[in-house]
Symmetry: C2
Subunit: 379 residues, 2 copies
Amino acid sequence: MSLPPPLNPTARILMGPGPSNVHPRILQAMALPTIGHLDPEFIKIMDGTKAMLKTVFRTENELTLPVSGTGSAGQEACVANMVEPGDRCVVCIHGVFGNRMADMVARNGGEVVKVEAPWGQPIDPADVAAALAGGKTKLVAIVHAETSTGVLQPLEEISRLTHDHGALFLVDTVTSLGGHPVEVDAWGIDACYSGTQKCLGIPPGLAPITFSPRAVAALEARKSKVSSWYLDMTLVRAYWGQDRVYHHTAPVLHIYALYEALREVASEGLRARWERHNRAGSYLQDELKARGLELLAEPEHQLAPLTAVRVPERVDGPRVQERLLREHGIEIGGGLGPSAPAMWRIGLMGYNARVEIADRVLAALDTVLADEPTLSPTA
Amino acid sequence: MSLPPPLNPTARILMGPGPSNVHPRILQAMALPTIGHLDPEFIKIMDGTKAMLKTVFRTENELTLPVSGTGSAGQEACVANMVEPGDRCVVCIHGVFGNRMADMVARNGGEVVKVEAPWGQPIDPADVAAALAGGKTKLVAIVHAETSTGVLQPLEEISRLTHDHGALFLVDTVTSLGGHPVEVDAWGIDACYSGTQKCLGIPPGLAPITFSPRAVAALEARKSKVSSWYLDMTLVRAYWGQDRVYHHTAPVLHIYALYEALREVASEGLRARWERHNRAGSYLQDELKARGLELLAEPEHQLAPLTAVRVPERVDGPRVQERLLREHGIEIGGGLGPSAPAMWRIGLMGYNARVEIADRVLAALDTVLADEPTLSPTA
């Protein structure tokens, strides 16, 4: 076999649904000397990472750590640890990631009760109440920031309904953590997962999670083992806790990156970071609307870090994406999944959540759309 | 919360059971610009990675890719995809990692039939034959290079017995791939996983796997979904195959590192790399024996990249490890698991598989043991 060429990736502005660009200081952290996963120095790095993650999640939860996989592994860690065969689970679906949660619940033997909302709309708490009334429920699962639609889901009323019923509340914050207020303790979230490649601005590869004392009690009361050994939190927490029992070899360099990124978040201040995401996202959304483009989400449920824009009639959406990448070095996303309406998804996350980055994509979009042929109207 | 200090890890010589030190060129690759996981440039990198992985595994298997997690995630990927509830599985246990495989088989609903060997010895093919004779078996699982004991397991006879029975052959090559001959096609291995932080010399975080056409047929004939969505190869292969269907966000920078490391392996030549590991390991083992130290494995089944040394009587093994780290900046491992005999585990893997690195640990060990007090004999 001839040797493939050396790596030479083109620098891109990453404005899709993730990954986002990474701050150079964080990339530098990944080139520091590797140390062992049981080295006393590494244990201090783990402790600092846990403490800073608790601050970002706004929680006192002791079981707070990064899962050794991407955001989807964090999702599976939450579902696999909370769900046992036969458990009735209410799964809220207002986009692709809710659907995936339902799939994971079923794989773990749970009974899935779906509560759905149309693309671009949040879940109605009344529908959750009705689903809970249908039978004794172990878990309510919902996505806070639906990356497939740009919708921000209000959580507090659904949390109240869940806890009134005595169920656990599982929340996906992959696209909100670090970019929108996420209040794990104040909102009564029992199991929460996120990713690193979005508003935290770290390369993809880790999934921060946090479990409340209620979630830990449910884990400890399980009648069956967790289906996944790799994601079994009764084992993983023994490594991240005081015992330091070897479970698997931690992805040391990714944890360096997370540590440095969390220091950046702390230096900036969490509220200032939320505000920066809000400012950049609102600016982009106003400018898109001023150009006559239509957003998928309603204004009162619009995410800041991710904006889903409907592709105008007779415009070839994927072709525009391809031209933005090739002619302007800008990556944006398209619709996710076979049932998605034609859309572009534009991310302003982490390091990229700035008005000047929004201006870059707006200028490029103006240039491309100005000379883009309109498709013939289909009969 | 006060801000934890900036990262400043001490450079170590990593001579434990992994991670091993990483070549500077590979660390540099991880600081290259992040691109999207669906970027046309990234797709070329994925294709190059797959092609080079096939060369290293010595296979033509189309389903060959890195799982987005550490070696343990690769282990779980192989077990979860191959095992369905009720499947009879013969699991060979000659150390910690065989035990873990049995645990994973049970979590996936398989019936575990254990074949065991004492610490430091390989599995006897006659015992596998006897276990196979006990009933219709779906799978035989075994560890090629047992990191907890330093034993290299001969595979060819057990493979023949497995295929004569019509079962699938699952092999752990975490500590052998890139450091010992591993012949997936010639040895009839159906599902094989490895890690990146050992003989391939990449930071921990990815798990190369390969499935034979027989394994793919078994996967496609499953009656039940794979328990893990994240590791479900029917989904993952759609992203790594021609369809490029989004599954999860690939750990882009780790794949850069894997790509560059596999280019290093190809430049060096696979046989030359095996020979380098063999030379360094044999040298270390001869020198340890010349000092009167006893190795756990028998000489004819001794791994090159990992050597398990019995701690001499009346020496405090963990204290010696701690002094090597603190006074000499050298990490070695201890015994793994509660039933392990007192031992040190010394790795010479990847970039570190060199005689001069072996000399470093030997000199440090001589210095430490020279002034180490002997423990009082216990009554």
